[in-house]
Amino acid sequence: MAETLAAPAPVGQRTSRSLGTSRSRRRYWIILSILLVLAVGFAFGLLAWDNPMPFSTSGFWRIAELRAANLVVMVIVAICQATATVSFQTVANNRIVTPSIMGFESLYVAVQTSAVYFLGAAGVIALQGLPQFLLQIALMVAFALVLYGWLLSGRYANLQIMLLIGIIIGGGLGSVATFMQRLLTPSEFDVLAARLFGNISNAHTEYLPVAIPLCIVPAVLLWLNARRLNIVSLGRESSIGLGLNHRAELMKVLFLVSILMAVSTALVGPMTFLGFLVATLAYQFADSYDHRLVFPVAALTCFVVLSGAYFVMRNIFYAHGVVSIVIELVGGAVFLFVILRKGRL
């Protein structure tokens, strides 16, 4: 290495760590702090704003407690959607896909619709309860595993084909659901429609003891896997070359992603573009390839988007039912914008 002509960078500053320069480090921590402040601000706002009781009376706390459950749901959804989407995009090697296109949402819609179709308005009630909640999650995870397992173990194992088949199955389930919806009475349809838009108030407090661990455990496992995900993001060949068992890694990540997506969907309903919106923003904010940096930013961003949207819609427009519609609208617009700007999928 004697004939090096270019001057090497000064010793002591040379590091391969992400956030190697003090400038990027400062930038990252400033953004993280801003997100944290916003998150705490919105959380406090949702708890305390418009609380009819005077601050720090027992009535105030009782109302705040009721609202806190909603907040916990938002935290769960934020962690699920953000972690799942970032991981999924990495294993798919594509920054504009979202795991919801894998058919989770169509499955959720199909299950909800058939319940109402076969049982009438009572069907929605029949789907509420802890066992039913668990069953829905199990169904969605099983669906995903069968699909992944089947498609990734074949000779033509190919993620693109898997995505395509996921979309097709999703489309098929969606059509079946639409067909059943046509046969519902208007009042039944009304009951159903409320369940088919992602809505934080869809969640029931009784689900939380199950939903919390089902969200935390996969998210922590993915976080612990972050260094491997960095390698996976280099693509199949490079990760094999660096000693990863790429297919095993893929299956592991997809399994965890499917649990997270199933929990989020079963809890609050479909949120198609939320994950995409948040992952795109998180990569802009974190400005790094390193999943250990991207995950926290993504989860915080997701919580800020959710809680911010709820806060604004509830307290300024008095319309908290349409929050997810607004988020989806913004997410969808960003999605289109990114596709049009990149000019490819």
């Binding site: 290495m1 001057a7 320069t21 993001s233 280099l234 693509g235 060949e237 070359g241 068992n245």
Partner: protein, 251 residues
């Protein structure tokens, strides 16, 4: 030693690579040459276990590439592919540091950083090490990829057209370095080259492929003849005596 026996890859009923039987001895540089579509990249990626075989076996240093765990092979063999593109926002140094993954599992030690620095400096990327990959020229990026492979620090190194996009100076520097690595560190280097004169000058052995088969294997002196080169490349080649050994003239 790298040994291939009855190695076969069938892309379709018309296009098949192999069957190839080949022994690449330990140490030194082996150049893989041949016309476009001869199967050089296919063979190299199969040796580097990035592509499955349809038949046959490949062993590197006695390890069967199909059955040895990938993480063990990653400390024995490294491979540079012909095409590389990474979508993530990476700096040169971060990319090169990925080469240490088989050892560090992502937790870089001081020793790892030192090897990364060496690989970067050798390829003259010191001043560029904090640039993002998408801010580099084609040749600079190619050098970054090669630096990543070198930082993996393996006994067997497979390089598919590493001189792609490189200017004269960097091509010569890279070949000199590889030559020294083979000589002094006992590395076994298999390299796909299109410039037959580079192969003739720097390689210890040349393996010529054509239409999916190995058609010649020998020392540069044996391969660099009018006869053999004309046959392999299907184009008239004359070999003359140059100042530094035989020189193939084909333009």
């Amino acid at each position: 030693m790298i040994s291939l026996s009855e190695v076969l890859k069938e892309y379709s009923s018309e296009v098949a690579i192999g069957p190839v039987d080949l022994e690449i001895p330990r140490g030194g540089i082996t150049a893989l040459v041949g016309p476009n579509g001869a199967g050089k990249s296919t063979l190299l990626t199969m040796i580097g276990r990035l592509l499955g075989l349809d038949a046959g076996t490949i062993e590197i240093a006695g390890y069967d590439v199909a059955s040895t765990p990938s993480k063990d092979l990653a400390k024995i063999v490294s491979i540079l592919r012909q095409e590389n593109h990474f979508i993530t926002r990476l700096t040169v140094r971060q990319l090169v540091a990925f080469g240490r993954f088989p050892y560090s599992k992502g937790r870089l030690t001081v020793a790892d950083e030192k090897i990364v620095s060496e690989a970067i400096d050798f390829l003259g990327l010191g001043v560029l090490e904090n640039r993002y990959l998408d801010q580099l020229s084609g040749g600079q990026r190619q050098r970054a990829y090669v630096a990543m492979v070198l930082s993996q620090d393996t006994e067997y190194v497979l390089l598919d057209e590493p001189l792609n996009n490189l200017d004269m100076r960097h091509s010569v520097q890279m070949m000199q370095h590889l030559h020294r690595a083979a000589e002094e560190l006992g590395r076994t280097i298999v390299i796909v080259l299109h410039d037959i004169n580079f192969a003739g000058h720097y390689a210890d052995r040349i393996c010529a492929m054509k239409e999916g088969r190995v058609v010649e294997f020998g020392t540069p002196a044996e391969i660099l003849t009018d006869d053999v080169l004309t046959r392999v490349f299907d184009t008239p080649v004359r070999v003359i005596d140059g100042p530094n050994g035989p020189l193939a003239v084909y333009y």
